[in-house]
Symmetry: D2
Subunit: 335 residues, 4 copies
């Protein structure tokens, strides 16, 4: 059993990590960290009552290094890199769920802030298994992708070489509210979200550079992207709809099936995907349809699982050479 | 007081028509029609208890002609044209909420079925007041626009002459479930919609030709359109997000404000619109943003009001020369 | 036109007051007050864009006295009494939506805090029109009832004299989230409420003494009450289910119909009431059923309207001798 | 591995059975039955795509007897007993999720219809493990309890001997819509449920006799019960609030903790329980509070799991002497 720490355990992705790891056959959670001592975990997450005996400790890298081989960091962007650096220097492997190691240094500093761990960012592996499975094996630092980039990239990747680059890719993305985190704000107030829908940060969301960079690395091409995220009146799940132009006509379902024929956590549907069939699982469900050269791609994930915590555990499975699907949730929250 | 009939009163748009007309100062509802005798209206719509004494009658054109000058038809597509024809021949004016008179004959027959009222379809006025206010004055037959076309056209109209026609307009539309009607189906089951989102009829929805035809009539140009509707987990409201390419850069907010400076039921917002601020009203709220030549337009309406019943009463107001906003709901269902 | 102020206009009940008063034929809103200057009202309530030209001012009693005859106070409990006192001394009439004048002095001080306006609390009229219509005519200070007491009292009032006093009345009350106010808290976070239900303050909610006191004043009897409120996963509306024991068998529907035969805003249903049929209106819808001596009563209101703002305007109508239903919303937000 | 059949697999409880059994270490699903041949399971339940290779067969008892030792019947009331009888006579053990074997013959025939399997109903074990764990071991026919009775009985059971029998037990129960089944009806239409709440069959629901009978068998006392169920605007989960009178004062939390000290699937909370913390699990979460002699008990379960499918698998575990919690879901769908 690999002894692991979950740091940032009081948030939603921390909870999801715990729910997967507590019953995992290869990882044993021995440390729960947060910004403050938090007492029993059931005070923070009542649904874990009777399921976990551990208490929440004020996160301390040295203490983690004493007890654990691997740490999952579910910390806010910017807060994560300092902590990851310390852990890595102490020999602890890290799966980082923040944005801090997802981008090239230059891109990161352009869209976020000066980076505090220039040494390790170079070696971080971008944790999208369908793209970097080989590099993930044996990795010491994995940068877990954002939820929007995960769904967007998986949908578009098989088509990049077929697209007319003169036309931008238009991405209309919709996320459940849990993606906005546990913090209470005007935008997460029930009355603001319920019976409502709106876009936010249209054409200027920070996940846009993450998508562009990964497209460039995969295809060698710089695509023009319009990315518009929305908050949906539901708790979990994400649907990303992409609109683009093909250079020539093709059968998009065939292309998807061929591209993902060996991917255990991508499912290709021949009718429009919905959010519910992937909620509660690590699956990315994809549908695509063409009309002339216009191509529509719709991909669905659970924003907290495939978009964060279950993908993190898949990455950890790969780091240690375990089966990719070891302990990973597959059965959706349907109905 | 103009005596009016509401035919198809048992559905959602019939109910909304009643809610507006029962307190209208210029129209008096004297006839409620449906496919069968239905007894007291409160049996069908319990929320109208104590508010309306009329009973539902099996719809009969001759009877309507005896008692009414004007009829609102909230009937299914295809069923409407036969009834409208009979009414028109008996001298009753008609506001038709179905698709039957919205398109040119040729387009209609291509996408629907053979038309049964070739005589009147020629003279039907498309009831989008921002486009055809002059023709609506004195009209005898108004074809009330669909909800998707209303929101889409109002958002894009001010920009049509500025768009690069070499590229398609990509339209990602999201509707509340009430748009699917009162009929119980697998798709309207609570458990199918709640905590879910999916597209339907992507790239092949019947509202696509309606939008194209009106764009052509307004601009003289044939735009290529990709239209993808979605069902949202909410009852009422609609958000239409359009993505297109401009020929050259411009300030989209200025363009919208100028275009709609005299439109009492269009509001231009400088931050993303939401669904709730227009729910319960006849407003179409519009936001737009540009990045380089990429243009994003977001427009919001209440699908049952601006997308059907309140727009129908605005059209009736205009037919009779009343104030456009006479009796029209303006205060949203916020919070 | 009576010139009125709305103080506390940035909250939900403030917004609802405005939506009713802006189109009222007898009241003219000339002053919007809040704890701080707030600029144009549409900054605070975007849905009011183009509907109200007034700006929000830091609430000042002297300024209100200069411009207004009547003030609606939608302020927090405890904050309201100081402001009301000042207004009353300056000759401004007050409809107070807080708890500050609802109880007898002694009861108030037991459950809240020392009272700062002992002079006026004696003369405040409890604004439940079905109970105190005569006293409301000409009143200078109206204490608008809470939402829970409104629905509870209206449901139970007709039966009080028939109840077996040896047994408690058990009240299971369910409220939409808007009742918890606009403030962002853990309990109003979307993810806490959505797909969830829970009781809060069971057997110890502050509305319990309000209900008991009014029962005593109406019936001369001290009933034992168990009151348990719940937060529902919906924005507006309230259902209160009461369980009690009768002294002898009776026909509860007949009793309700007789009791409310002259009440324009109470509707008696012969099948279970729902929340939606009263949402958006001032109606209280009531259903009751008996099994042996066990009596079940279910009453539904819109918590923000009949439970606050529309009832406040009804009270103002009565104060000035206007028609009780002048400008009061009657058409529900169905579907 | 015990070979099992799931009959009635196209409904919600059938799906939940599959989700549990497909990964169960001791049971192997080898037969999927429904009223008609249904092809691949993913046609009926798209979320099972890639997770189950079996096809749906027209249910046939002889065929099941050839292949299986145990059958789970998720069939409608009345349809189940004929099928169960045939299976039992062929030597197949049965866990029946319908109402057909839950009651004594006489009670069943009074509230449902003549019983077709008078032979086996005598020996059926009521599958509430906290009550009948011993009898379940080795049982051949288990009658799985209804969802309302499960939550109600578990909440009240520890207090029955302490209650004042002169006063009825008032039960205000609230269920998610999935409890109404997959069939599309007026009541399950999204627009009927969303933003709404209502009771149904108040004081006359069929689960009332089930509760009464089990109370009598446990306590020897005939309690008078008022049972009022409601439909909540959420998909899954159930909260049952019970109101009763104690003979004398006591500490309800202590009583609950003592009573359930050995029950692995009952959790006692010291603050009000919510629905979400048990959704997705087999837990029954219980809270209770006393004021004088008035006692309030609130119990929460997942209506499809503890109220149906996961309880059915717990019962099967017990029948075969496996660990009670073998393969049973424990981690809630929070957030």
């Amino acid at each position: 059993m690999i002894r692991v720490a979950v740091v940032g355990v009081s948030g939603y992705t921390g909870l999801e990590l715990l729910k997967i790891l507590l019953d995992h056959d290869k990882f044993e959670v021995v440390y729960l960290g947060a910004s403050e001592n938090g007492g029993e975990i059931e005070n923070t997450h009542p649904s874990l009552k009777s399921l976990c005996e551990l208490s929440i400790e004020k996160a301390d890298a040295k203490e983690i290094a004493k007890r654990c081989e691997l740490a999952f960091l579910a910390l806010p962007h910017k807060a994560s890199m300092g902590f990851a650096k310390e852990l890595l220097e102490l020999g602890v492997k890290v799966v980082d769920l923040s944005a801090d190691y997802r981008l090239d240094l230059e891109t990161y500093e352009k869209f976020y802030c000066p980076h505090e761990d220039k040494e390790h960012i170079k070696d971080a592996v971008y944790g999208l298994p369908e793209l970097y499975k080989d590099k993930l094996k044996g990795a010491k630092l994995v940068a877990n992708p954002g939820c929007y980039p995960t769904a967007t990239i998986l949908g578009l990747l098989p088509f990049l070489h077929l697209l007319d680059e003169n036309y931008p890719i238009m991405i209309d993305a919709k996320s459940g509210v849990s993606g906005a985190g546990k913090k209470c704000t005007e935008k997460t107030h029930y009355c603001c979200i319920n019976e409502n829908l709106f876009s936010y940060s249209p054409l200027s969301h920070r996940h846009e550079p993450e998508i562009k960079e990964k497209f460039f690395k995969s295809s060698g091409k710089e695509f023009d992207i319009a990315f518009v995220p929305h908050l949906l009146p539901l708790t979990r799940g994400m649907l990303v709809d992409s609109y683009c132009l093909l250079k020539k006509e093709c059968n998009p379902i065939d292309i998807l099936k061929e591209f993902y024929k060996d991917a255990p956590f991508v499912r290709i549907f021949e009718k429009p995907v919905d959010i519910k069939s992937s909620s509660g699982t690590n699956f990315c469900d994809i549908f695509a349809k063409r009309d002339g050269k216009k191509l529509f791609i719709s991909s669905s994930i659970d924003n907290l699982l495939r978009g964060a915590s279950s993908q993190a555990v898949v990455n950890a499975n790969l780091m240690y050479g375990f089966d990719e699907d070891e302990g990973i949730p597959k059965y959706a929250y349907v109905p």
